[in-house]
């Protein structure tokens, strides 16, 4: 009798299907969160290690310092012998475009007055500059050369 009363008591928590499902979902999410936290911790620690030698990651900064030269210039040519279609250099080209915005980089178009050369070897860039009859104006520490067409 006591047992029957206890089972029918309104105080007893109802073990409904929704309750079981909620518990399953909550427990699963808690486990996933623990795994996530572990991965996030590992990621943070690896970045902390890199930050000691490199405070931030942005290879495109090698194009900075040229913005002042291009003030008021809407478009310039950008010449490279590297593969811009995919991979690491595609990212670097996008970063160069960001750094030099709002000047538009017209890829491999050598008809503009100003042309930026970023080649695998500096000699290749210089040969191309000579070929199109331009004169080199500026070269930064990363081997990027700015040239100006004379004709």
């Amino acid at each position: 009798m006591t047992l029957k009363y206890a089972m029918n008591s309104p105080q007893r928590p109802k073990l409904s299907f929704a309750f079981i499902l909620r518990t399953f979902l909550t427990a699963s999410l808690a486990v996933i969160t623990l795994i996530n936290c572990f991965q996030l911790y590992k990621e943070t620690m690896s970045i902390r290690k890199i930050k000691r030698v490199m405070p931030f990651s942005f290879p495109g900064l090698r194009f900075s310092g040229l913005e002042a030269v291009f003030e008021g210039v809407e478009r310039i040519g950008f010449y490279t012998d590297k593969d811009v279609t995919a991979g690491e250099y595609a990212a670097i080209f996008a970063q160069a475009q960001l750094v030099l915005a709002p000047t538009i980089l017209d890829l491999n178009n050598l008809q503009h007055t100003f042309i930026l050369f970023d080649c695998t070897r500096e000699e290749m860039a210089m040969a191309k500059i000579k070929e199109i009859g331009a004169i080199p104006l500026k070269r930064n520490q990363y081997g990027i050369i700015l040239a100006r067409r004379t004709k």
């Binding site: 979902l25 699963s28 999410l29 996933i32 969160t33 991965q39 902390r48 931030f56 990651s57």
Partner: protein, 454 residues
């Protein structure tokens, strides 16, 4: 001083949003501070973006004084509105209490954001799409003076010139008090939207289900390495995810509680959503249609009023966005219609690849089994997840994914495997908050059967 100038535009946007929420939700009962903040941030930043858009339409160039005066005018108008509404007796007073759950959730979110902020500062210029699209466009708008339309030049096809500009305009507003386009602004914008998404997720679930476990939804996505990566990459997918969630939360609240003011807010969010990305426009048009049906098909005597409020809200923010697509945005040059073109056509093989990729994506380690668990929960709890009061959520998710799939199939410009590998995960990441909200809400409502009472 410079730090203050970095945060001041965001603070002003939040203030505008906060006051607008106070004005719009005046008679809807007390609103928890975290829920209010979560809605206010999105509204305020959206208004700032549209004011910046107006600046470019009127003066054809960026002009900081115009923007500052514009924001001051909007603030003044809201004050007038608040003064006028204060004269009318309110059916309920706004809550100025800070419930413990809100304080704990807020502090908890801030703590989780410490490692995320740390990672974000290592990638100050974000990820690929930030350099190529969002950050680039922001900088272009800020510095190009009257030549800003050059950013639609086909030479810049890598930056998707046809994309809408909600996120870049917010960044431009963030730079309004700066001399330079400093990298901190896009970084803050991205983290703010991530925070707002998670705080909205938690606070709205707490409001509707009173579940003690609501915080777990934010915790699980914020710690998920892929979601963190999307947030620190400064992609617009987080912004799209926020506005989709906000629109749906307000729509369900408005429909269930028969409050036209929430329907109006939902409409506002639907409009902002359309200006985030082309996918946002699809989501927005879907939500407009489904939301209207959701409100019309309810057994609500006030359904026409609710629908009218929803439509007015959406029209206010959708029209500027549609004007952009119609008058300003160039044609999409990275698109081939494979259904009508033979080079290359949309083959059945391509569709098969898409579906196989979908199936495999669930199993990739980047989700840590989260998608599988959510899928199992939806299947097991189908009776609860597909109920009349929430049918709009699964229908929206299904139709949105169907639309995205159709676009993957139709647009044969990109090699499909590469395209899926770089975009599908972000589509899922942007929908993840909505799916989590849907599942937790559907299962939590069973526990909290009585009508939600603020």
């Amino acid at each position: 001083m410079n730090d203050v100038l970095i945060y001041l535009p965001f603070a002003l946007s939040f203030l505008i949003g906060y006051l607008l929420i106070s004005l719009v939700l005046k008679d809807t009962g007390p609103i928890g501070p975290l829920f209010r903040l979560s809605l206010a941030g999105g509204i305020g930043l959206g208004v700032s973006s549209y004011l910046t858009f107006l600046n470019f339409m009127v003066l054809d160039r960026f002009n900081a004084p115009f923007l500052i005066v514009g924001h001051a005018t909007v603030l003044f108008l809201i004050f007038l509105g608040l003064l006028a509404s204060a004269k009318r007796p309110a059916s309920s007073r706004p809550s100025h209490k800070f419930p413990l759950t809100d304080i704990l959730s807020f502090v908890g979110l801030i703590i989780i954001f410490i490692p995320i902020y740390y990672i974000a500062t290592f990638y100050p210029y974000g990820g690929w799409d930030a350099w190529a699209v969002w950050h680039f466009k922001s900088k272009f708008l800020f510095l190009a003076d009257s030549h800003w339309r050059n950013m639609f030049d086909p030479v810049l096809w890598r930056s998707s010139p046809h994309y809408p500009l909600l996120l870049p305009f917010i960044n431009v507003w963030g730079w309004a008090l700066q001399q330079k386009a400093i990298y901190q602004i896009p970084l803050i914008t991205s983290l703010l939207f991530t925070f707002l998404t998670c705080s909205l997720l938690v606070s709205s679930l707490q409001k509707l289900t009173s579940s003690r476990w609501s915080f777990l939804t934010a915790l699980v996505i914020l710690t998920l390495p892929f979601y963190t990566k999307t947030a620190v990459s400064q992609y617009a997918d987080v912004v799209l995810g926020y506005y989709t969630l906000a629109a749906l939360v307000c729509l369900v609240l408005g429909g269930m509680q028969r409050m036209r003011r929430y329907c109006f807010l939902s409409g506002i969010f639907v409009g902002f959503l359309s200006f985030t990305k082309p996918e946002g426009l699809i989501a927005s048009l879907l939500l407009m249609s489904l939301g209207s049906l959701y409100l019309l098909w309810s057994n609500n005597p006030k359904r026409k009023e609710l629908l009218l409020s929803y439509t007015i809200g959406a029209a206010m923010t959708l029209i500027p966005s549609l004007l952009f697509y119609w008058l300003i945005a160039p044609a999409n040059i990275t698109s081939f219609n494979g259904f009508i073109s033979q080079a290359p056509p949309s083959t059945l093989e391509r569709l098969k690849v898409i579906f196989v990729y979908y199936l495999l994506e669930w199993l990739t380690p980047k989700w840590n089994g989260l998608l599988i668990i959510l899928f199992l929960a939806v299947i097991a709890g189908a009776r609860l997840c597909f109920r009349k009061e929430t049918w709009v959520l699964p229908t929206f998710l299904f139709l949105y994914i169907a639309g995205v799939t159709l676009y993957y199939w139709m647009n044969t410009y990109f090699e499909i495997l590469w395209w899926l590998s770089v975009t599908l995960n972000r589509v899922i990441a942007s929908l993840l908050p909505v799916v989590l909200w849907w599942v937790f809400f559907a299962l939590g409502r069973e526990q909290h059967k009585q009508p939600p009472n603020d």
